[in-house]
């Protein structure tokens, strides 16, 4: 397996992104939003609700080309967990995963489903799942793709604490196994601290990067004091804005 250093970086430079609202007026959603992630890194975007995080994710995914600026993605497959699960309601859990990741073999699929608690839901249709289960299927689908770039838009909301932690560990394991650049949107500073190399604190709409916080020893157990210090930095950046 190739080392993480082989992949290119993710470079996002969005000078401006505006949308037209229902009344026909232009609304500026993103302004001077720029950041960079090196190969193998995890970046976390944290910002207030409605600031433009999902808009930014869609641009990074290449789903929206109508913006000023440029995005350079690492070569290779893309996977995304949207803010809603976005499963095909007429296909079973297993088919939903296999359609996105045709190369996945039986052993790999089983090893993905088991830790996510999905083993007995393989044959179910998405309509038979709770929202939390559907979110886990969306995660399994994204992991199964073996992405070079993994985009996660608030992947752990609506899951209870212990489960969210278990999924965080799955994500960390995945990141450890393969070279992948991960961009994660979250409201939870603790989650960002546990997962990210870099935390980008966003302003209210139009979103811009207020500041970047580097996590010293990412994805390792850190002392409550260190965690507290990161929270204080986030608060300071938000306060200064």
């Amino acid at each position: 397996m190739s080392p993480a250093g082989d992949l290119g970086p993710l470079e996002v430079r969005i000078a401006r992104k505006s949308v037209t609202n229902a009344a026909g007026q232009p609304v500026e959603v993103l302004a001077h939003l720029a950041f960079r992630l090196a190969a193998g890194e995890v970046g976390a975007l944290i910002g207030p609700s409605g600031c433009g995080k999902s808009t930014c994710m869609r641009i990074v995914a290449g789903l929206d080309a109508r913006f000023e600026g440029a995005v350079a993605r690492p070569p290779g497959p893309l996977a995304m967990v949207f803010q809603e699960p976005r499963l095909l309601p007429w296909r079973s859990v297993e088919d939903n995963i296999r359609l996105a990741a045709p190369a996945v073999d039986e052993a790999e699929l089983a090893s993905l489903l088991k830790p996510l608690g999905l083993a007995e839901h393989r044959a179910h249709f998405p309509g038979e799942l709770s929202l939390g289960l559907a979110r886990r299927v969306a995660l399994a689908r994204a992991f199964a793709v073996r992405p070079a770039l993994l985009l996660l838009d608030e992947p752990f909301v609506s899951l209870d604490g212990p489960l969210a932690r278990a999924l965080e560990r799955e994500l960390v394991a995945l990141i450890g196994r393969r070279p992948v650049i991960t961009l994660l949107v979250t409201h939870d500073v603790g989650e960002a601290t546990r997962l990210a190399d870099r935390i980008f604190v966003l302003s209210p709409r139009p979103a811009t990067v207020l500041g970047e916080i580097r996590v010293e020893r990412p994805r390792e157990t850190i002392s409550p004091a260190e965690a507290r210090s990161i929270e204080d930095q986030v608060e300071a950046l938000r306060g200064a804005a």
Partner: protein, 246 residues
């Protein structure tokens, strides 16, 4: 089920009573009709006519659904294409069936191609508009999902688009079949030397209502069977993923 059966029996009873009290030349009773039916069946003419007509129904239906689906999908997805094609569809939708049939017989000739094309052209705008509705209602969120996970065009069509269009295809099929077989009879009456429509014209020339019903009833029954054995199972199959209400 019992109510349906009772209703059907009531219809039969009314028929018997009306035939009994009315002029049997205008409305023969069930017995006379079944006798005529038996004769037509024994000579093989009934099945030959039904077979020919069924083949025309199938051909016209397939052509209209295929073209109508493709056209409707394109119109639903592309606004410019919709603007260009819409006036044509509206014109076709409002052109009387008879006009289309006669024009095609004149332009193409009194042949099978003209007959099938005339029927298909009558059904086409109807299928197009229905599928266009479906294409407009496609979920953009699933489209984005398919793009992110790099679905091929075939995969997208089969797993993302068609399941969403299925209810619209079923609706177009349902209304389409009944429309197509009615128009096929007119086309046969006007310019074909065989088929149920042709036989009905014969019966008309002879003022033989028994013969007319002997051809019309089995064919109607056959279309009902197609609906029950093909269309309804298809609808159930494509909606099997929907959670059933408790």
């Amino acid at each position: 089920m019992a109510a349906r059966l009772a209703s059907l029996l009531a219809l039969l009873a009314i028929w018997v009573a009306a035939a009994h009290f009315g002029d049997p030349r205008h409305l023969p009773g069930p017995a006379a009709v079944f006798t005529a039916m038996g004769k037509a069946a024994a000579s093989g003419e009934l099945f030959a006519a039904m077979g020919v007509t069924m083949a025309r129904v199938a051909a016209a239906f397939v052509v209209a659904m295929a073209l109508g689906s493709a056209l409707g999908y394109a119109m639903g997805r592309r606004a410019l294409f919709d603007q260009i094609a819409d006036p044509w569809i509206v014109a076709l939708l409002n052109l009387p069936a008879l006009v289309i049939i006669v024009l095609l017989y004149i332009w193409v000739g009194l042949n099978e191609v003209a007959a099938v094309a005339a029927v298909a052209l009558n059904k086409l705008p109807n299928a197009t508009v229905t599928i266009r509705e479906g294409a407009r209602a496609l979920d953009p969120a699933l489209d984005e999902m398919a793009r992110v996970f790099a679905f091929s065009p075939m995969k997208r069509l089969r797993h993302v688009v068609l399941p969403q269009l299925a209810p619209y295809i079923a609706a177009a099929t349902r209304s389409g079949l009944s429309l197509v077989w009615k128009i096929v009879l007119v086309v046969e009456l006007l310019g074909r030397p065989n088929g149920v429509g042709f036989e009905i014209n014969e019966a008309f020339q002879l003022f033989d209502v028994s013969l007319l019903l002997a051809y019309a009833l089995p064919f109607t029954a056959a279309m009902l069977v197609v609906e029950a054995l093909v269309v309804q199972p298809f609808e159930r199959h494509v909606s099997r993923w929907r959670p059933r209400p408790a």
